[in-house]
């Protein structure tokens, strides 16, 4: 296909530099990778039309995925260079929204009165805004832009609705309806792998996509919408003639190279598809009025709540006073306490709340987004905000109402392993009290990890515990000294586990395990201690520390999806807890994060959120520690077993094969429908440029 001479920036190409993912060990990666950096629709069409015959392509964004779904056989198409050297394909577009919107659809929007940020908390008002973005835009960039609003863009939908329809209600800040726990991924990278929040009555982010613009192998491009939009009766989103006038032009290959398709089956197939259909150039996303969330966290045990998980009417899914709650996260400590009988669980709930202290200065905005420091940064294709993607987790100050606390030891735990120092100090104090004064504080870690009974078997371990105490004191000195700096948290925890759990003498082995349980209990209790605060939506939902250079390298992680009402979910969690108990007695351990989050069903055919109440079990650990990979391997084996039939997240480690996928996504149902749509876009599979080792392994192919 001959393309009309382009005004677009030439495509940057890099050959030879290792291609690696964010969580890979530094210095590792795919050697000799061929990478292109498009910045426009023209670039994408050119790449897809003119790649060498027989070569395969794959789009990548922030490199946050741990999955091989992101790996290309041959050529990587970077929508957002993770090294920030080449410009991203990350602009917010105004040519379709509002330029190509269907007039009737716009009129329907104009008849609505969106809620006001800081106004009443009527969550039944579902008026939404539309934003059209290139797919290389990162989530934190978009939530910052949405919060900034479109008031200062003359060509925006908000101004159009105000000036042409007399409705000023679309001015002001907007927000994602729901978010995952981090926002460093590209918007499309996150949603196309099924990324979700913990809002159990809301489907994942993918379900807020209103339209998408796909460039397929061969360079043909498609504007794809569902037949109708939510709440719009029978009205289509866009005006086809205007779309064709915008995209069916010579620089994009002409009118015969562009299709507009309104088809739920195709739309639902492309939404979550591991990049198999091609490169999605842009998406139109529904945004909701900006809102504030109250977050409440309480410490409990898995054993107390496991019987409630499968019952959506249970108190687990409401606030402690019984009022409605929108979010549920259960963080789990896999290491047991109470003489191996219990496991700590941090229970986080969220609900919509009035912003505090007022709508002009909601908590978290200054800390997580900040002011615009560059009105248009070429490298990100939009305004650069002071702290978007450049800040630590929002941390409320418990002593000053509506204020952020300064960076604490807890927050910097991953930047430097200082938190370990504090925990070891506390454990040393408790051990000394036990060994020297023969007393145990009732609210301390020892009282929690041990059980109290007639046997008192731990008293027989006084001598080995003295050995372990000396070891801890020596380790503390090391960590405090000059040699203790510059290590990753995983390295420190790995060394600690090795010294405590791998003792050759039986008594010391028991004492080391006991002290390891003390440390795990104390660490988890601090990380999941009681919390109550209110802040702007993204400051609550985005829990990622963008300054972290320790916890997020050399990470292994999976996420497994279950029907939350299926008791097999409980058995799966129980099995992980049992495995960890066993492996800790055998010198290995898991250091990381395990949690359950809940979400509603997605419309995407290959979305892992397949049930009205879906539970996602996430397990992420530091590979430096012996036992992390083993536990995750075991979790994968369980989830792939058809008795459990868990669905592995497309964006995390996912060794599923074609039989696994066919079993979970109904080879004669959703998967068959997905394949039919792939066949439609790829000419029966002939255009296989976006096939990859991963899609072949998982059967995401036409046949």
């Amino acid at each position: 296909m001959a393309l009309h001479p382009s005004r677009a920036r030439p495509i940057e190409v890099s050959v030879g530099a290792p291609w690696s993912r964010k969580h890979d060990l530094p210095g590792t990666g795919i050697e000799g990778a061929r990478v292109v950096y498009p910045t426009s629709l023209e670039n994408l069409i050119e790449i897809c039309a003119q790649h060498a015959a027989g070569t395969h392509l794959k789009a990548a964004g922030s490199h946050w995925a741990l999955s091989d779904a992101a790996i290309s056989d041959d050529l990587f198409i970077e929508t957002h260079d993770p090294n920030d050297v080449f410009p991203a394909m990350g602009r917010t577009l105004y040519e379709v929204v509002p330029g190509c919107l269907n007039e009737i659809f716009v009129a329907q929007m104009a008849n609505q009165r969106p809620p006001v940020f800081g106004g009443d908390l009527d969550t039944s008002n579902d008026a939404y805004y539309l934003v059209h973005v290139e797919t290389g835009k990162r989530v934190y960039q978009l939530y910052a832009e949405l919060d900034h609003g479109d008031d200062d863009r003359r060509d925006s939908l908000a101004i159009h609705l105000d000036e042409q329809h007399g409705n000023s209600g679309y001015r002001g800040p907007w927000a994602f309806r729901t978010l995952g726990g981090a926002a460093g991924q590209t918007v499309f990278g996150a949603l196309t792998t099924g990324t979700h929040g913990g809002d159990f009555q809301l489907p994942p982010i993918a379900d807020d996509v209103a339209a998408l613009h796909l460039v397929a192998d061969g360079g043909r491009h498609y504007w794809i919408e569902p037949r109708i939009q939510p709440g719009s009766a029978d009205t289509q989103l866009t005006d086809e003639a205007r779309l064709r006038a915008t995209y069916g032009i010579d620089i994009y290959g002409g009118p015969d190279n562009f299709d507009v398709i309104r088809d739920d089956d195709l739309f639902n197939a492309v939404l979550i598809s591991a990049g198999r259909f091609g490169v999605v150039y842009s998406i139109v996303l529904r945004a909701v009025r900006q809102y504030a969330l109250h977050e409440q966290r309480r410490l409990t045990t898995w054993e107390e709540i496991r019987g409630l998980v499968g019952d959506p009417t249970s108190t687990l899914y409401s606030k402690f006073d019984g009022d409605p709650n929108r979010f549920l996260l259960i963080a789990l400590c896999l290491t047991p306490h109470d003489n191996f009988s219990k496991h700590l669980a941090g229970l986080t709930r969220r609900w919509n709340s009035a912003p505090a202290p007022n709508e002009d200065h909601p908590n978290g905005r200054a800390e997580r987004v900040g002011v615009v420091v560059d009105a248009f940064d070429e490298r990100i294709g939009g305004p650069r905000f002071q702290f978007a993607g450049n800040s630590r987790v929002y941390n409320p100050d418990p002593h000053v109402r509506n204020a952020a606390a300064p960076v604490s030891l807890l927050e910097s735990a991953c930047a430097e392993p200082d938190i370990i120092v504090g925990v070891i100090e506390a454990i040393i104090r408790e051990l000394r009290e036990l060994l020297e004064e023969h007393t145990v504080l009732v609210l301390g870690a020892i009282a929690a990890v041990a059980a109290f009974g007639a046997a008192g078997a731990l008293l027989a371990l006084v001598a080995p515990l003295l050995v372990i105490l000396a070891l801890l004191v020596a380790l503390l000195e090391l960590l405090r000294g000059p040699d203790g700096r510059g290590h990753r948290l995983g390295e420190v925890m790995g060394e600690l586990a090795e010294q405590l759990l791998n003792r050759s003498l039986p008594g010391e082995r028991a004492a080391g395990l006991f002290v390891w349980q003390l440390i795990a209990y104390e660490l988890f209790s601090q990380a999941q201690k009681d919390l109550d605060y209110t802040a702007i939506s993204y400051a609550v939902m985005d829990n990622h520390d963008y300054h972290d250079e320790s916890c997020n390298v050399n990470v292994d992680s999976i996420e497994v999806f279950f029907d939350a009402t299926d008791p097999m979910l409980i058995a799966f969690v129980d099995a992980l807890l049992a495995y960890e108990t066993r492996q800790e007695t055998q010198g290995k351990t898991f250091v990381g994060y395990a949690s359950l989050r809940f979400t509603a069903e997605t419309r995407a055919k290959l979305g892992p959120e397949r049930w009205p109440l879906t539970c996602a079990v996430e397990i992420a650990g530091l590979k430096d520690v012996d036992g992390v990979t083993e536990l995750i391997d075991y979790a994968i084996a369980l989830s792939r077993d058809p008795n459990f039939a868990g669905i592995l997240h497309w964006g995390q480690r996912n060794p599923s094969n074609a039989a696994d996928i066919a079993f979970r996504f109904a080879a004669d149902g959703d998967l068959a429908a997905w394949r039919a749509q792939l066949s439609r876009i790829t000419d029966g599979g002939r255009l296989d440029g976006f096939s990859s080792a991963f899609t072949r392994q998982t059967g995401l192919e036409v046949a």
């Binding site: 145990v440 009732v442 009974g453 007639a454």
Partner: protein, 134 residues
């Protein structure tokens, strides 16, 4: 609706709360297909790539299929991977069913899933008298 299982399991009828006879049926197994008595205490070993468990009850001189539900699943180091299936004498989806007409417990015998019967050699107990409350 029968419940599907995969691999080797042992089945035990745990309890029964139905005045008439009951039975369970295995299909698709490696050599254990058939009907089995639903009296508490009945046991059976079943294996096969994919096999199904159904339950039925004697009513009005006929065998009628019972509604089934996995009522619980658990995994402990002491007992391994255990699934409990209950039967009710009404069509599936009928509200308020208690699924206790026949209760069957299935123990996984797959060593890959269930490295079972592990007993913990450690005892982390302390005497009550050393607790300090201040």
């Amino acid at each position: 609706m029968p419940e599907a299982f995969f691999g080797p399991w042992s089945i035990r009828v745990l309890d029964s709360h139905f005045p008439q006879r009951q039975r369970f049926e295995i299909r698709g197994s490696d050599g254990a297909d058939g009907f089995y008595d639903g009296t508490p205490g009945s046991t059976l070993a079943v294996s096969g790539q994919r096999w199904t468990l159904a339950m039925s009850r004697r009513e009005g001189g006929e065998w009628l299929p019972s509604a089934l539900r996995r009522s619980a699943a658990a995994f402990t180091n002491a007992d391994g991977f255990v699934v409990t299936v209950g039967a009710a004498d009404s069509p599936p989806g009928t509200p308020g069913l208690d699924y206790d007409d026949m209760i069957v417990v299935l123990d996984s015998e797959d060593p890959a899933l269930d490295p079972r019967r592990w007993s913990n050699p450690y005892d982390f107990t302390l005497p009550q008298r050393i607790l300090r409350f201040d």
